[in-house]
Symmetry: C2
Amino acid sequence: MSFTLLKTSPNSAARLGLLRTDHGDIPTPIFMPVGTAASVKAVSPRDLREMDAKIILANTYHLHLRPGTPLIAKMGGIHKFCSWQGPVLTDSGGFQVWSLKELRKIKENGVEFRSHLDGSKHFFSPESVMQAQREIGADIIMAFDECTPYPSTIEQAQKSLDCTKRWTRTAKEWLSKNPPLHGYNQKFFGIIQGGTHEELRLQAIEELKQIEPDGYAIGGLSVGEPAEEMYKISALCTQHIPETHPRYIMGVGTPWNILELILRGLDMFDCVMPTRNARNGMLFTSKGVLHYKSAIHKESEAPIDENCTCYTCKNFSRAYLRHLIHSNELLVLQLASIHNLHFYLHLMQQAREKIAEGVFEEWAGEQIHCLNQHLLYYK
Amino acid sequence: MSFTLLKTSPNSAARLGLLRTDHGDIPTPIFMPVGTAASVKAVSPRDLREMDAKIILANTYHLHLRPGTPLIAKMGGIHKFCSWQGPVLTDSGGFQVWSLKELRKIKENGVEFRSHLDGSKHFFSPESVMQAQREIGADIIMAFDECTPYPSTIEQAQKSLDCTKRWTRTAKEWLSKNPPLHGYNQKFFGIIQGGTHEELRLQAIEELKQIEPDGYAIGGLSVGEPAEEMYKISALCTQHIPETHPRYIMGVGTPWNILELILRGLDMFDCVMPTRNARNGMLFTSKGVLHYKSAIHKESEAPIDENCTCYTCKNFSRAYLRHLIHSNELLVLQLASIHNLHFYLHLMQQAREKIAEGVFEEWAGEQIHCLNQHLLYYK
């Protein structure tokens, strides 16, 4: 097995693990910066290395449209293409095509959709998406799933889950007959659907156990349901996913969401929030959320976060960052993104340390309380 | 004197010098990356250091409007504000307010203008602009001038020059009574105006000699006149500026413009071209100009310039850069700007080496011919 469970917590489901890939080892719990189109927005690969990112994520849907996955294959795979030598995970595009709503039509054997860029017609099947992920060449690839909307009746959710189950089997079979293209192994993760229906989530896990994926992902959460519902379903899932396998919850979330989910036994996380919010003026700090466009920072010589060791905090004041964003200076997008990503990655590093020390629960409780504050009057 | 003339060329006016400031030494000829609003667009100070930038430029007009020069003073000066510890030069805002055309009114004692941002009314006088530059705290500050348009009659140009002459004296006197605010020296450069009228340019230089600035800048060129006219006026000026002083031509230009002007005895250059053109799709290479949006680079694994050692060329292909710009990915603005600035700075470094070796003229001739090619079919 490429996943080693190093430690479990006596007082919660939090756990410490190590996931090995041909491009490097990933300690868990881990946060994966999102590089949608083979670029973590506004951040260079060397910035990612400096902040000790262990793995990044890219989106098959976006890479299929631009530049096209055959081109990435021709360029030697995504690592070479974007100059990132560490591990990469690609999603399957299932969530993106599902999000297209009026632009897509779910069929028995896949999804027909129109590009959000130019309206051109495309078709994703479980096989074509595996082919695309073989071409991209990520270290971890995801099954093609059908996301269940929230809310959904049990009948709707069952129908949707049946689709995901069928497609996951098809994908696994296709992969067994079509080896990787770039000379290294690609792990296959299945996706658990089932909406907020507990019995369907358990059914999904039982089915996946038979398919024997390298890891289990929880999909279809963070799609509008209350956070408590997300935590409850996640906790239920981790009680039934084999503890020998990595557990990934897709597209979540805030720093406090992630800590709550580590407490419930999740190992892997990704979200556009650190980079997107950075560009929009919202920074995460050890004392809470800071809105750096605010006039209260106009003359502040303080860094964003006095406890932070990122490039931005070591070199720039809030006054300067505020000046840059009000002046539409591109540099601020880079500096703010670096800070927020560093914050997420450092939080995960601390989480691993606290789990190792056996004191995660108390620490996480304090952090969840603190990080969630909005520091409108922060001095 | 803070400027040392190290070597002159036997076959041209090209020369090697060293300009000392309290924030570091500047070897000449030198190119100064432009950081309009105290930020070189899309490029971080550590990127600037890595490409061995020796001095950067900022614009008093822009800093006056945002964030306001008193704020920069309060933050300890521009070096601390933008985390750049090397030398900085600020222009006087003369060119910017002149460019505002309908938004400004030139008066006896200064220029009344409206902000291009919000229409608010402002007034720049020779004294207020020196005050602003004291507050910003650049190592080299410029006299407030009145730019002469092209074309202009000799009467118009004389009137305009008289204004610059008067304001330059006023500025120098004001500076003598108002010492620097940040604990280090600020050199004062005068600006030579006179349009394309040779006798006026000579008159301007004679006047400046009496004022005894630390350096001489040529203003009012690259404002629409043919390049040959710019070269002719520049050559005339350098024949009359004392060789003991640094010579700066403002706002010029392409790599080949700069080599032509080094041949004519100029030492210092600045231009937004490397960063602006990088963002718009145009990259400079050792073989000519490359348009990286072009379809011909779609599958190219080659770097932008095989002879370039910048971060971008060492790590990324043309195919990747093309993908990024077509996908509106912010990273490309950073990578392309780094390349173009590195190209300019490296060209200046080579120029200094060639002057030192006494072979500048032949090398420059080849470069001028080569760099000016547009590589539409570049392979």
